[in-house]
Amino acid sequence: MLSFVIRRLLQTIPTVLAVVLMVFVLFSVVPGSIVSSMSDDADPQVELRMKKQLGLDDPIYVRFGAYIAKLATGDFGTSFRTREPVTAMIAKRAWPTLQLICAAMAFAVLLGVPLGFVAALRPGGIVDTLAMVLAVSGLSIAKFWLGLVLMYLFALKLGWLPSFGYGDGGPKYLLLPALTLGVSPMALFARTTRAAVLEIMTADFVRTARSKGMSEARVVKWHVMRNALVIILTTVGLQFGGLMGQAVVVEKLFSWPGIGSLLVDSVLQRDIPAVQGSILVVVLAFLAINLLIDVLYGVIDPRIRYA
């Protein structure tokens, strides 16, 4: 297991490098610069000096080399705009995003997976029909619209929750953004779970178990659930990455102080170190979650070997 984890960690290095290079090249060719975003009548000489000071007049390979050398020491650079270390900026934003994604994922898993299971156990029944209507709706609803509806309902009409803001970061402020973000993965988990369970229910080994006289409860517990969980886990892992991207909309709508809004603003202001740092952290988080999922496969199903 340990060697598997180490091997996977080593495999992430080229992925990370490729992402870093891609972002670097992209922001070297897109129009717009930090100077023009700061001042719309900067003296051309000042612009040149500032670019020199920030190292923006060096050839791209020199800048990339310097950046990689810094990264190797854990230094993400300094923001052009705030002059803060990018690591400090990201640290301030990482916790709210983590809170948001974890809460959304918890809601999605705790509701979506049981819903899919129950629906699959009685296919075509009322529960199944309702669950799938819910799932299709959940997948097709735009987050922005859903967020507004939830705000309107729970804040304005019922007065139970605040409509926006981070407050003290407590559940009162977290609920609506997490619900908005969590509905779509919840729907996906319900559908995936239903499909996985239905497929496994008709598999040979399940038929064999039943023919050997195993009770339905034991069949579900020992065969269906365990096998379905591997599929569900894969979906959960992929959704984590997706949620990081979708969080931008929710963060903006609810004034939630996460990495998504940092990334968007940094792009608009051409704060390249902050953009690179934010994207890198998102990529690293995505890779870490997928590694964790791979490890969990073995825990759920010991037949999976880490050769």
Partner: protein
């Protein structure tokens, strides 16, 4: 005076709230403002950012040599008690306040003023306030790295500063925004200042949750007796208009900037109608035409564009009446605005005739660079294209980010663009953008060159008599109207919803969201205690 008239006419909600204004301001409470122009503040160092978003919090935290007085429609002294003018209007001797304390308890002195202006001229930083400080003699030399200190600034004593200008200008127009805030010289040089800024404003910094809010509390040693009234100010970042709408209706925020759709909705809602305040801001929206692109070199073609567009229709239907028709460059709230001027009428036949005379009977094609901005971007361009098409002009859209647009405009890399440009509060500064000596990279984006215009502007710059100067500026503005380097679209009508318990809101024509927070107060009906 005109400023007042417009403010009274425009300030519907404020007029309705007049009886409340007569009350004695209440001490205490929390003012909950919103910052509607993005999902974050750019920086806590206000010298580095020209975004309107950032000045919302900066008005509470910082102070500049002058401050904008919305009632009078002009800048007035703030950190100085007196300005003695000599040397033919070029030398200003400021007697500074001796009761202004920074939030660390230290008294402001002349050294802080000089240090702050020198900092802004740092030629390696592109601080946006440099455009204002450049009017001080020797400031440009600091920017170019030819001098270490601005020669035109002299400390006479701890509370007296002498400022020598390069031209006979009113420095008030140049030193009232937060871009030229006075920093504490010792503290501002430290790294910690970026996280915990220290200013001279009525409120001191408490907390910044990036991407969400800034909280500030009353500075008890603020120099205006009895002010500020509130204990606390919280500025929440709320870029989404629909989310602001819910929060405002839910009484979670005290101010909310309204877009065109909400403007209509609030006007039609009996409960919300009384919350609206509006003002003609000093921004002109326009389509700029590149004179090096052949058809646009001809004045008749540029005029034809103005005749071919039904501007009133766009303002009424698309912008939902949330704008004032532009009659030339200077906005309604400019002291040199000429009420007698009339806008180009919608007259496609006249446009066609002008195009024929100019040698384009079948029209021509051009590329129109635009951002997505709802008030002066793609939606407007999309509405104009069929109108131009009617007279044979084909426009091809080139959409770019707003952040990139200013760079494109400054470099002249366009055939036409649509933009919103600050055209006040100083009419001389606004019109000087069209002086041939103003580079395109500064604000002469259409690279306008006209000897007669230059002569009038130069004369206006030298005129000591206010009436004569105004007359000359009106003449220059009229010439610009005739030359039509742009399609004159509209002047922004800024609209804000204000909760009935918040009092003292000023109709600031330079930017409605920029409030002198010390004058605001909340009564006991505010839900935020």
């Amino acid at each position: 005076m005109m400023f007042r008239t417009i403010a009274i006419v425009a300030g519907l909600g404020l007029a309705l709230a007049a009886p409340a204004e007569a009350q004695t301001p209440r001490k205490g409470g929390t003012i909950r403002m919103t910052a509607p122009y993005g999902s974050s503040f750019t920086s806590l160092d206000i010298h580095t950012t020209q975004r309107a978003q950032d000045e919302i919090y900066a008005k509470a935290l910082h102070r500049s040599l002058y401050i904008w007085n919305s009632a009078e429609g002009k800048p007035v002294l703030e950190l100085a008690k007196e300005d003695v003018v000599s040397g033919g209007g070029l030398v200003h001797t400021f007697k500074l306040r001796d009761d202004a304390y920074f939030h660390n308890g230290r008294k402001m002195t002349a050294d802080d003023v000089i240090w702050s202006y020198n900092r802004i001229m740092d030629g390696t930083k592109a601080y946006p306030g440099a455009r204002y400080v450049r009017i001080i003699e020797g400031a440009a030399a600091v920017e170019k790295g030819q001098a270490k200190e601005i020669s035109g600034l002299k400390k006479i004593d701890d509370f007296t500063v002498e400022m020598k200008l390069t031209e006979n200008l009113d420095p008030g127009f140049y030193f009232f925004t937060a871009l030229t805030s006075i920093y504490p010289a010792d503290e501002a040089a430290k790294e910690s200042f970026l996280q915990k800024p220290i200013g001279l404003g009525p409120f001191k910094f408490v907390e910044h949750v990036p991407g969400s809010r800034i909280a500030m509390e009353r500075w008890d040693r603020f120099y205006k007796p009895g002010k500020p009234y509130a204990d606390k100010v919280v500025v929440s970042i709320m870029a989404e208009a629909a989310a602001r709408d819910v929060a405002f209706r839910n009484k979670e925020i005290d101010t909310s900037v309204l877009g065109p759709a909400q403007y209509v909705a609030y006007q039609n809602d009996a409960d919300l109608k009384g919350t609206i305040v509006e003002v003609a801001e000093v921004f002109t929206r326009y389509m700029g035409m590149n004179p090096s692109f052949k058809p646009f070199t001809d004045k008749r073609v540029r005029q034809a564009i103005n005749y071919a567009i039904d501007t009133d229709l766009i303002i009424n239907k698309l912008v939902k009446g949330k704008a004032y028709r532009a009659t030339s460059w200077l906005p309604l709230t400019s002291s040199a605005y000429d009420k007698a001027m009339k806008p180009y009428p919608y007259d496609p036949a006249k446009a066609k005739q002008l195009l024929t005379e100019a040698g384009y009977p079948s029209g021509f094609e051009f590329e129109w660079t635009t951002s997505q901005n709802e008030s002066w971007g793609l939606p407007i361009v999309s509405a104009v294209i069929p109108m131009l098409d009617k007279v044979g002009i084909k426009a091809k859209v080139k959409q770019i980010e707003t952040a990139v647009l200013s760079e494109v405009i400054r470099s002249g890399d366009y055939q036409a663009f649509i933009y919103s440009q600050q055209t006040g509060p100083d009419p001389l500064a606004a019109l000087k953008c069209f002086h041939s000596s103003t580079p395109q990279s500064a604000c002469n984006y259409m690279n306008f060159k006209n000897a007669e215009f230059d002569k009038i502007i130069d004369e206006a710059g030298q005129a000591d008599d206010v009436a004569k100067r105004t007359q000359l500026l009106q003449k220059a503005n009229a010439l610009l109207y005739d030359e039509a380097p742009v399609w004159f679209f509209n002047y922004n009508k800024a609209v804000m919803a204000v909760q009935p318990w918040l009092h003292g809101v000023q109709l600031n024509a330079t930017e409605l969201t920029h409030q002198n927070v010390e004058d605001l107060w909340v009564d006991e009906t505010s839900p935020a205690k």
